[in-house]
Structure formats: structure tokens, C-alpha cells
């Protein structure tokens, strides 16, 4: 792991903390190498994270999914990255104006503009990162002789292993996520609602110079309810309630989330119930640490699941581990059979989550982000593990 510890978001006179032009150059190189490895002549991308990875463009953030449509096209024979963008604001200099394609509502116009991409019509193998019921028509018009294949494996190949610059971005996101956790913890008191905590999280992240957080499913009263509740309500917390906090932040596209559980406004030495909570929190933490310890190069999703089943007390209702980088990425491990066969790679970054619920005691969430270093896992998140009384 990179030794960079000088985390911040401002430019420094001697040079930035992240060399973004190097970061973009390395990403692009990895992507073209992965295309070559897969024998792919052209890559058609629609997902914002993949578009960001390929182009380095700073895109307007919107919530939720959009139907698949071309937003960025890479052509192996020319080495060019074509971006659908009506303007050059937020577009890095290595993508010249001639490679920007204006957006249109009219599919006929879109097709004509995409047809002008040099080398696309000669591609014999084209990969995309999404699909829709009209995608066949579009792609057969654009590259009539091409076989169209799933690009997700080659994208994973390019994206999974993080460069030192990417790790610095992730560490910055981790610092901001922890700042949000701290702000949410400080806001805990009887009468505060789940919705208010979502607002505190977003405010903390944006006040530190970042834009929208990666998710709003960040706070729920976990005193009762066997599952995490990620849709915030107006429910107000009372003294002694458990509250699960799971804020996150996105810096330059890179996402980190962190999860901890707090007790609202109670006396730390309080009742038996609280002592019981503290004990169960220790057990949950031990289970999470056991899973994290398994996150070594070459490990499988099944091994992570076995560690959870050995130490964990609750069946999984959400994933146990998932990849992070430009947002959430493969692998996803758990629940059920999901991701058992996935392999953990050296240099990958994973979110690892423990959620355990016991009747009469409540639900405990602990979630950390780790880098899979060659010698084993290193935690990127530093929030103090375990239950704290807020």
C-alpha cells in the first residue's frame, strides 16, 4: 500500500496529493490493455463509473440507474476515447474537441454522430457494459460485422487493482466518510430522526468540498428489526436506542463507506441491556475481523463466507463484502450463493460488512474498507471499532 498519509483536498504548491493526469493515463492504459487481452476492438460504455474510468471526465452526479446507451466509445485501432458530451467543461485535455459528441434526444441523430467515430465500423468484436431491448439494433447499425460481447470482465480486469494515485483518492474518501460518521455521532440525541441523520451525513460530506454522498441508506434505529433499514423514516430515537450509522463519501469518483453502531445518549455504565449490547458488539467485531483476515490474494468468496459462518451469529441479509473503487464494483460476496466463486485479488479494495441481530438486544453494524495488500489486508477506514455510547 502507498505510504501517502498527507490527505487533503486542496492543491499544494509543490504539486497535488494525487497526480490526476498520471492517474488518468494509467487507467486508460490498463483499459486498452484489457481490451487487447480480450480481443476487443471497440468498447461502448454507458455506466457513469466506467465512463469516468475511461475518460476522466467529471460528470454531473445523478441518483439511480439510467437505461444503457452509449456515453463513451474506445477504439483499439486508433487509441482514441470518444465522449458524449456537448461541452468541454469537466473534460480532460487529452480528449480533444473533435472527439466530443453532442448529446441528442433524437436516436437518428445519435446514430449519425456515433457513425462518424473513426474505426468503429471496422470493429469485428465490440464489448458493451450494459444492454437494453434496443441495443441490438443500435450496435448492428454502428458495427454491422461485429460480434457484441459482455465487457464486464475486461472492465473488472482494468479496474480491480488500484494504482497508488487511486488509493490516495480512496484514503481521502475514507477520511471524509469518517468525518461524516463523527458528525452523525455527535448529532445523536433523543428526538433526532433517521432523516435528520441522513441530512447531517450529506452536509458533512459536502462541507468538506465533495459532492453528493454515494448513498442515503446511512442511518437507522437498530434496536428492533432483524434487517438493516436503509430507507430513512421520521422515527425519532430515544435514550438507549441502538443506531446503525453507515456514511460514505465520493472523492474524484472514488467511494468509501464506513459502518458503526452507537447507543443514544445513555449512561455508558447503564443497565444490563447496554452491557449485553457491548458484549454482542464485541462478538460482531470479532466476526468482522475474522472475515477481514481472510481477505488475502487468491482467497475465494466462499472462504470469506465460511469465516462469517464460523464466527458470525446471524444469517447474511446483505452482502458480506463487495469491491470499491469508482463506486461499487465486483465482486459481490453474499448473501446466499452470490460470489462464492469470486477470487480476491492483490491490490483490490473491498468493503466488508458485519450485521448481526439478536431479539431483545438489537442489531449491530460494523463495516470497514480494506486494501488487499500482497501480505494481507490493510484497513483504510480508521473509525474506532466497536459500540460507542453517543
Amino acid at each position: 500500500m502507498s505510504a501517502v498519509e498527507h490527505i487533503g483536498t486542496m492543491a499544494l504548491p509543490e504539486g497535488g496529493r494525487v497526480d490526476f493526469s498520471r492517474l488518468r493515463r494509467e487507467r486508460r492504459q490498463r483499459l486498452f490493455e484489457a481490451m487487447a487481452g480480450a480481443g476487443v476492438d471497440a468498447l461502448v460504455l454507458g455506466r457513469p463509473a466506467n465512463v469516468a474510468f475511461a475518460s476522466g471526465a467529471r460528470q454531473l452526479w445523478t441518483a439511480g440507474t439510467r437505461p444503457f446507451g452509449p456515453a463513451c466509445v474506445l477504439v483499439a485501432s486508433t487509441g482514441r476515447v470518444h465522449l458524449l458530451s456537448t461541452w468541454d467543461e469537466g473534460v480532460p485535455a487529452e480528449i480533444p474537441h473533435r472527439d466530443l459528441i453532442g448529446l441528442s434526444w433524437n436516436p437518428v441523430v445519435v446514430l449519425a454522430r456515433l457513425e462518424s467515430i473513426d474505426g468503429l465500423d471496422r470493429a469485428s468484436r465490440v464489448a458493451t457494459d450494459g444492454w437494453g431491448p434496443s441495443s441490438s439494433d443500435l450496435l448492428s447499425a454502428l458495427c454491422p460485422d461485429a460480434a457484441v460481447v459482455d465487457g464486464s470482465r475486461l472492465l473488472h480486469q482494468a479496474r480491480a487493482v488500484k494504482s497508488p494515485d487511486e488509493l490516495t483518492c480512496l484514503m481521502t474518501a475514507a477520511a471524509v466518510a469518517e468525518a461524516a460518521l463523527s458528525a452523525m455521532s455527535q448529532a445523536l440525541q433523543p428526538g433526532v430522526t433517521e432523516r435528520q441523520l441522513v441530512g447531517v451525513c450529506a452536509q458533512a460530506v459536502s462541507s468538506l468540498g465533495l459532492t453528493c454522498p454515494p448513498t442515503e441508506g446511512v442511518a437507522w434505529i437498530s434496536t428492533d428489526g432483524a434487517r438493516p433499514r436503509r430507507v430513512a423514516t421520521d422515527r425519532a430515537m430515544a435514550a438507549g436506542d441502538l443506531v446503525a450509522l453507515n456514511p460514505g463519501a465520493i472523492f474524484a469518483g472514488y467511494e468509501v463507506t464506513v459502518g458503526r453502531t452507537r447507543v443514544v445518549g445513555a449512561d455508558a455504565t447503564g443497565t444490563g441491556a447496554h452491557r449485553f449490547d457491548s458484549l454482542s458488539a464485541l462478538e460482531v467485531r470479532a466476526a468482522l475481523d475474522a472475515v477481514i483476515a481472510e481477505c488475502r490474494p487468491g482467497a475465494t468468496g466462499a472462504q470469506l463466507m465460511e469465516a462469517w459462518e464460523r464466527y458470525g451469529r446471524s444469517p447474511l441479509v446483505e452482502p458480506l463484502a463487495w469491491g470499491l473503487g469508482l463506486g461499487v464494483e465486483p465482486p459481490v460476496v453474499g448473501p446466499g450463493a452470490t460470489g462464492r466463486a469470486a477470487h480476491i485479488r492483490a491490490g483490490a479494495v473491498l468493503a466488508v460488512q458485519a450485521w448481526s441481530y439478536r431479539d431483545g438486544s438489537g442489531g449491530i453494524l460494523e463495516q470497514d474498507v480494506i486494501v488487499v495488500d500482497p501480505e494481507g489486508p490493510t484497513r483504510l477506514t480508521r473509525a474506532r471499532p466497536g459500540l460507542l455510547v453517543g
Binding site: 440507474t65 444492454w131 441495443s135 435528520q196 430513512a232
Partner: protein, 404 residues
Amino acid sequence: MADSPTVSGRMIPPRPDLARMHAERAGRLKEELERAGLDALLLLGTSNVSYATGARSPGSDASRALIARPVALLTREDGPAHLFTPYPDGAPDGFPPDHLHDALYPELADEAHRLAGLLAEHLGAGARIGCDELTHALRAELAEWEVVPAQAALGAAKLCKTVDELACIRRAQSINEAAMADVAPHLRPGVRQCDLTARFLRRIHELGASANAIDPIWQPMPANLGAGPWTTHGGVAFPTAGSDRFLREGDVVWVDSGIVFEGYASDFGRTWLVGERPRPTSRQQAQFERWRDVMQVTLDRVEPGVTALELCRAATDANGGTRPWIEHFYLAHGVGTDSAEMPLIGTDLGDAFDEQMVLAPGMVLVMEPVIWDDGAAGYRAEDIYAVTDDGWAPLSDYPFDPYR
């Protein structure tokens, strides 16, 4: 405009009746399923699943929403929609438990196979399935069925809103506006875009938003187009992504934001000026007055039976023959479970498209004329109107300060 505007004979209620809204939407989808000759709808898009099921999910970055996505399956034969969701707490009250299922991850081959197995329980080989989005894994698994775009059925169901849907949009807009009223006093020299975003996001959640929909836009506009950003069409670049950019004395800031309430989007647009007690110059004030004239002339034409093309012509005439909107956008767009949906009015789909778009009760128009005045930036604002039985009713209500 009548004193008590109605849509299909019904008044827009002060609060939406969510159960009635969900039931009416489900009824419409079934009708459209029949009309389109589909056996089922398989929906993966965040807003479409919300429309078909009433399911809420936390506002999420696309990367997360693509992997941990709610999925809806509606068949012609089998009652209400099935919902597969990572967020079961977001299922609406009274959702039938036997139609609520664990999350599926249709990105993954094994999970797509599981979904195909579930489909096979409901659908015979060769059935026609309307889909909004697919994944490569699903594309391979759905080979034995006929997969067609769901857009025609979805679009027809969504185009004209019920009174409860209109009440949701009005509520979303009022939360958005109340948050903006709290942000506006902080627009001072030296404030950063992200500082305004911080305050805005805090407030929308306190005020009861279900989710934020878009990174709020606080974009300082150049005085003239030559100053950039460069665009493919030579016109105005908007909306561009925000950052920690400082806003400075005299900046003309185009503000645009959207939030979600019970699945329905708001759309707020105003032009603000940065300064200590900012006041528009006479040239800026004239831009606003031109904008207001365009808006009034266009609104005067809004009623059922009028075509979108007539609105475009009225607006263009009121602007001295120049189309008063952004090259890559529109004079007006609909809003509903998506922040920009049909009717789109004045796009590059062309005059023929606008001519066949006939206004009908329940359509929603987010009117967003733009007066560009090269050399002195321009004025842009958005207001929302529902087409009623005999005219229109406003769904937005926010002042134009500091313009008068």
C-alpha cells in the same frame, strides 16, 4: 384557469392518497400491458420499479443502484407486481407478502439464471416480455422469450398523471423550494458550490424528501459564449457538474436542483446573483422581463387539445423570432418518476414530433425558457404546471428574487 382546477373531473388533493395512487398506477400498467400485447413487464430501472410497485429505495450512486437494484415483474395473469429488493423496508404499506422477495443481482450470471427460473414459473416459452433495461447476464438467460422495449407501455401509463401523482410532484417541489429559501441567504461572495449543496441536502432531508435526485447545480454563467465552455453546437453549456468552485461578486448563477418525494421528482430552476445585497442591472432586469413575457404568452396557450408545436411557436414569437431555449434541451419537459420525461417539447426530435404531441389533462409541463443575451449572460428559470381540464394549475411557487 378555473378557480378550482380539476384533472379528469377530480381536484388535486392537498396530500396524496398513496394507496389509491399505487392502485391506479397498477391498473394503468395492466391496461397498457394488454394494449401492447405483452405477457409481462420485467423492470430494472430505479424509477420504473418505483412506478410499478410503489417501492422506495435510498437515493444511491448509479454504481450501487446498478448492482443492488430492485426488480419488478408484472404479469398479465398474476395480480400485483412482484418486487425483488435489497430494501424490503421500502415496500409500501400493505404490499402482499407473497409478492415481496429477496434481492436479485441481475448483473451476475447465477442470479440472472435464478430470475429466469422465476420467469419460467409465470410465463410459457415464446411469451412477450417488455423490458426497460437488461444486463448481459439476463440477455443470455432470456433467449427463450421475445424481449421487446417496455417504453411504449410505460410511457403511455405515465404520460398523464393522476391527481395523487400531481399532489406528490407538488409536495416534492414545495420541499425543494423550502430548502432553497434556506440556501438563498448564503449566496455571498466566497461561498463555494459545495457549501450551498451541503446546506441544501441537509434541509431536504429534514423537510421530508424521500431522496435527492441530482447534484444541485449552482453554475456561474459566462457573460458571452466566446468565454466558454466550448460546445459542440456553439450555444450555452448547461448544466455542468459542480465542485468546490468559489462564487464571486457579480456572478450570474443558474440554479437547478431536483429531489424525490414518494417516487416523484421536483425541478427547481432560478437565476441568482452573487453579491452583498445583489440587484440586477437594467439589462439583467430586461432579460427577466422578456423571460416573464415568454412564459406568460406560452402559458396562455396551455389547455387540452393544443399541440406542443403551438407552444413552441408562441414562445418563439414572444422572443422576437429566436427560440428561447437551450439548443440541446427543450422549451418544456414533463416530470414524474423521472426528472425529465414526456412530454418533451421543443427538442431536436423536430416539429413533426411536437405537432403530434397534444396536451391532455394530467400532463405536467416544466416550462424552462431561457433568454440568452450575449455580452450579459442571460436569464433562466423553471416553473411547473399541470394541464387541467380547462387550462393549467401551478405546481411550483417560488419568488424570482433579486429580479422584480
